[in-house]
Amino acid sequence: MSDFDPKILGFVCNWCTYAGADLAGTSRIQYPPNIRIIRLMCSGSVDPLYVLKSLLEGADGVLIGGCHPGDCHYTNGNYKARRRIAILKSILRQIGLEDERVVLRWISASEGKRFADTVTEMVGKLKELGPNPLRERWQI
């Protein structure tokens, strides 16, 4: 399992986490290179469909990054995201897929370190969990 290199997809908010990730880069904070980032305008625009599609195509983990409560540029997109992700995780648990593969985190534009720590933590957890079992199923 030690040579397992998890693939993570990040759906991140333009106003906070995307800038946070940028800051992590420009401040040269070290974190594992396992994440590919997709920028959206708000965590509230993450349709669970995107997360599901990623998992069904074999992503080992998915990060959704949004503004801290109270800070969403569209007032409440992050609160809506929180409900959607809670539902998604409940569904994943019920079909036997570890819900820890999906992480919703509030990361502001100034939290480069928090972004790097989140990715490091996810990679650690995913190494424990092993590859996404859906990758091996062709009948999906």
Binding site: D47, R82, I87, S90, I91, R137, W138, Q139
Partner: protein, 377 residues
């Protein structure tokens, strides 16, 4: 010729007579302009919803017939979302009304000019089973059905089972209607009891020139018995199903025969989107994509994205699934779609203490949020 072959002759006796007289009076006395009510199609052994404006065109009305070709909440939505000029009355089963309540909250229906007449429901047969039963029986079976209900029993016809959705349904009697047509426990010789539930209902019953009936004394007891039997069965069935889909392998196997025809979605009263994302260009992939996927995985199932379809639909609407079972009835491959949605739905709905169809006031989980909830995640 066997009477069933000649087409059903609805014998207007106890079961249907009171219903017909009542909707007829609503039309004759212009309480409403039209009624939406199930009728036999002469010669076809099926029961469909009809929208009737002429009181003389109610010959084959049979709302007691234990069959539900489609959930009429969708029709009431079509009839009311643009606030029509003219009142309608709709005779509906409990699961249809529950779905309608959800559609109202999603702003897909407007009940200002609708009078919902809720009818007690014994459960329904698959349409093909219903056809066989009435063929064997030589005509409609509503009298037998009503007789069972008046005794407080689920009707039974040798060799046939009600649809599973109905066998585990916890709503034998409708809520959120203006007028109730009570069958459970009603005196067989005097017919269904018509009871107004709210002011709007009372006004309509008065204008129609009807007396409000009295609910049978032992009705509550009957409903409790039926509900507890069915919910016990539901618990067992859904627990077993949760086991079956509790692993990726299990879920994948259960739905291996899905061909993504999307009939389940088409029949779902809650799936109201006019342009489902699965019918949109998002899912028209470049030809090369398929080869790419096949190269990556070595082998892929065609059509692609069948599981994605179900998991997405679950995420989008399971919070409002009313368990009507139209999805399972619509599936050409007999897949347990209702079981999937009810199993997952019961857990997800519990997170928000939400019961679809329970009340017009409770906000559906996706239309609202609280600032302090669901933490820590």
């Amino acid at each position: 010729m066997n009477p069933a072959e000649a087409g059903p002759q609805v014998e207007r006796r106890n079961a249907t007579a009171a219903c017909v007289e009542f909707v007829q009076a609503l039309l004759e006395r212009k309480v409403v302009e039209a009624v939406l009510v199930p009728q036999h199609v002469p010669g076809a052994k099926v029961v469909v919803q009809t929208l009737v404006t002429d009181p003389s065109r109610l010959e084959d009305v049979d709302p007691v017939a234990p069959v539900l070709m489609s959930n009429s909440a969708t029709m009431v939505s079509s009839l009311s979302f643009q606030a029509p000029k003219g009142r309608i009355a709709a005779v509906m089963r409990p699961c249809e009304i529950n779905a309608l309540v959800e559609l109202v909250k999603f702003k897909q229906a407007n009940l200002d000019d609708v009078i919902v007449i809720g009818i007690d429901c014994p459960g329904t047969y698959e349409p093909k089973d219903y056809m066989q039963i009435i063929t064997a029986h030589g005509g409609p079976i509503s009298e037998q059905v009503f007789e069972s209900l008046s005794r407080g029993e689920t009707p039974s016809f040798d060799g046939y089972e009600l649809r599973e959705a109905c066998r585990i349904c916890e709503h034998p009697s409708p809520a959120n209607c203006q007028i109730l047509m009570a069958l459970w426990g009603a005196d067989f010789s005097s017919g269904p009891v018509i009871v107004p539930v709210d002011e709007k209902g009372r006004e309509a019953v008065d204008k129609a020139g009807f007396q409000s009936g009295n609910l049978p004394a032992h009705r509550q007891q009957i409903l409790e018995k039926i509900t507890s039997e069915r919910s016990a069965r539901g618990q067992k069935i859904l627990e077993q199903f949760a086991q079956r889909i509790g692993s990726i392998e299990g879920l994948v196997d259960e739905f291996a025969a899905c061909k993504k025809c999307m009939n389940c979605r088409a029949e779902c009263p809650i799936c109201y989107c006019r342009e489902c994302i699965f019918c949109s260009p998002t899912f028209v992939h470049e030809s090369n994509k398929y080869l790419k996927w096949a190269r990556q995985r070595k082998i892929i199932k065609m059509p692609v994205e069948t599981l994605l379809f179900h998991l997405t639909r679950l995420n989008h609407m399971v919070t409002s699934c009313v368990g009507c079972g139209q999805c399972s009835s619509a599936c050409p491959n007999g897949l347990p779609v209702m079981e999937l949605f009810r199993t997952i739905g019961s857990t997800v709905q519990r997170i928000f203490d939400y019961v679809p169809g329970r009340s017009l006031e409770e906000e559906p989980p996706f239309t609202t949020f609280r600032e302090d909830e669901l933490e820590p995640r």
